[in-house]
């Protein structure tokens, strides 16, 4: 009976997720473009061969991984600090909790347009700032070595609140008497963080990490609006490249190949991230012995 109740959810999953995935897998072994008159013609592994030889794909992959790695790393550290701060009791905390969510609540395109003008040279405030403190005009969005950092910054600004929200929810599940116990044993705040907070928070950190990693790997709207993938394609992401192939070049076969390759990769990365996290933060059962000797 209970299994029957799962049917609608399963059906939805099959329609919006499994179905398209199989379709893409099938399409990645076909030529389907404006040249074939938008008819799918089997072409063996030609798309995959092209992908392996496509320098642009590998460059985009590197850029996407760099973007995802740096921004998600920064976001998690900042989110942890913010969550710890918002978990303490202080006046005005509730107001700040609400305000902190605003960047996340803004539509990405709107905030990306905002950042485009903030980073604008020479009319944006950042340019005025760097000029007034003597660094000079940095031309952030016009320099291939700096632009990707601007995209990371805009992403960190927007999605840190989301990660902070998850971690804050996790913090509130930790019973206060555990901390009391550490204090009684003479442990300081650092020990509390290492032995209690981080181990107990681990499932939530993992959740935030996986959510954010998958999202950052598929980044599209932010980059499309902020830089359009430029300058010199230095910020182009995999998703942007797949989109260009599908909707601009009308090359659906190759676009599907890019998407399939990304799907395999992101699954792999998420598993890796999960394993890595096991090593970085000790499990609760191990630390428990130390806290309660």
């Amino acid at each position: 009976m209970i299994a029957l109740l799962l049917v609608p959810a399963l059906l939805l999953l099959v329609i919006v997720f499994v179905g398209p995935l199989f379709r893409y897998a099938w399409l990645s072994f076909h030529a389907d473009s404006v040249i074939t008159g938008l008819i799918a013609v089997p072409n063996g592994g030609a798309n995959w061969l092209r992908l392996v030889q496509d320098q642009r794909y590998w460059q985009d992959l590197f850029q996407t991984l760099r973007f995802a790695g740096v921004s998600v790393g920064l976001e998690l550290v900042l989110a942890l600090l913010i969550a710890l701060l918002l978990d303490q009791r202080w006046r005005g905390r509730d107001v700040v909790r609400t305000l902190a969510l605003i960047p996340w609540a803004l539509p990405t395109t709107v905030m990306a347009l905002g950042w485009r003008w903030i980073f604008n040279t020479p009319y944006g405030p950042i340019d005025h700032l760097t000029k007034s403190i003597g660094i000079g005009s940095l031309n952030i969005l016009g320099d291939p070595n700096l632009t990707w950092m601007a995209t990371v910054w805009a992403d960190v600004w927007k999605t840190t609140p989301f990660a902070a929200l998850i971690l804050l929810a996790g913090l509130q599940t930790i019973p206060g008497d555990l901390y009391e116990a550490v204090r009684l044993e003479g442990g300081n705040a650092m020990i509390c963080l290492q032995r209690i907070t981080l181990p107990l928070l681990r499932p939530y950190i993992l959740l935030a990490l996986l959510f954010r990693l998958a999202q950052a790997f598929g980044v599209f709207d932010l980059i499309q609006v902020l830089t359009g993938g430029g300058p010199a394609s230095s910020t182009e992401s995999i998703a942007l490249y797949a989109y260009w192939n599908a909707l601009r070049f009308l090359d659906f076969g190759y676009s599907a190949t890019i998407i399939m390759a990304s799907f395999i990769l992101i699954s792999f990365i998420c598993v890796l991230a999960w394993i890595a996290l096991q090593f970085i933060i000790p499990t609760h059962s191990k630390s428990q012995g130390v806290v309660e000797p």
Binding site: V34, I35, G37, L38, N120, T121, P122, Y123, S137, N139, L141, G142, D143, P144, T147, T227, G228, G229, G230, P231, A232, S233, W244, L247, R248, F249, L250, D251
Partner: protein
Amino acid sequence: MSRNAFLRRLLGSIFAVFICSALFGLAQAKTIESVSILMAAPFADATQDLVQQFNNEHHGEIKLNVIRGPLETEAMSDLAISSLLLGKAPFDALLMDVTWLPKYAAAGWMEPLENYFQQGDVESLAKGAREGNSYNGHLYRWPLTSDMGLLYYRTDLMDQPPETPEELVLVSQSLQQNQKVNWGYVWQGRQYEGLSCVYLEMIDGFGGDWLETRSNQIGLNSTPGIEAAAWLQALIDQGVSPKAVTNYAEPEALQSFKVGDAAFMRNWPYAWAELQKKDSAVKGNVGITTMVAKPGHSTATLGSWGLTVLRGSSHIDASIEAIRFLTSDSAQKQLFQKYGYTPTKRSVIEDPELLEEFPILSEFGKALEVVKPRPQTPLYAQVSDVLQRQLSSILTGEKTAQIGMDVAASNTDQILISAGDRQ
């Protein structure tokens, strides 16, 4: 009468009225042809009055309905393509950009129009407006408004605009030295379609050709092709253009020119109306000319919008009727007077009354004489994309003009080979 019986009767009569009106509506729907056209938001807004006029004139016969699409060209293209991919399009006609046409033709999405527009109709168009409407011998599109690249200059800073690339640099440098302006020339250097438009004007201006689609001759790494890229790069190196131009699209260039920071700007006709607004620091001090070039090679990139009928529409004749109305002389006049959309018909561009009211129209007309469409191939998006990438690398100093254009040429070659267009 019991309450129940009354309710029953009331419901019954409401139902009867409902059925009757539904039947009446059905009968009406059969006689009135409804035509829907998808347009980008600015065009949908600008044509509101015209649509009203059309519907008044054709009351009881045709009901024209304009679907308001997104604001930006790229977003419009996405919407149109997504709807067309679903098979039967939810609209009869589409207002399309000039570069989409070969791709749409290859995909088989458009109805050929040569049986509806005769030779006389084509001859009524200005020379530049005749370009970019056909592909493989079929007419697919009827132009609503012309659009072409223009060089804007400050009439308060010079008597005559420069004609050659060298002159533009010299004039800019002397104005910058005398601290009249911060920058000489602002243009579109961001990695996007606008950069291809800027480059096309320069490669032709130096006497070259980007891609000749009949013979598939690629001119990107020919001498003029490299000269054009090197000239654009040197503008940044010499400080004639700001470094930030590598991220400029039209709005950024317009902003810089509008506040009086630059002596020259490359932009489309829409910028003229923007520069005449109250908040413009250069109002009344702006002139328009064609792009600088080697003598006799001045070129303006064609960027017009036109109406096309989609294959599978069941209202082709009514759609043609609507297209004829929206592109008529009086419609073009209205669109120009109110919204600054450049006309496509010779009779409107040369209209003495209109010229007296808007002397600038003659400059638009002159630029229309030297327009050139971007390479007309279904693979244009790919071809333009590889060019943008390499140009952006050159402008940001990642590559030299020679190396960048060599790569662009070989990438273009590969695209054409893989499409079977070239052995």
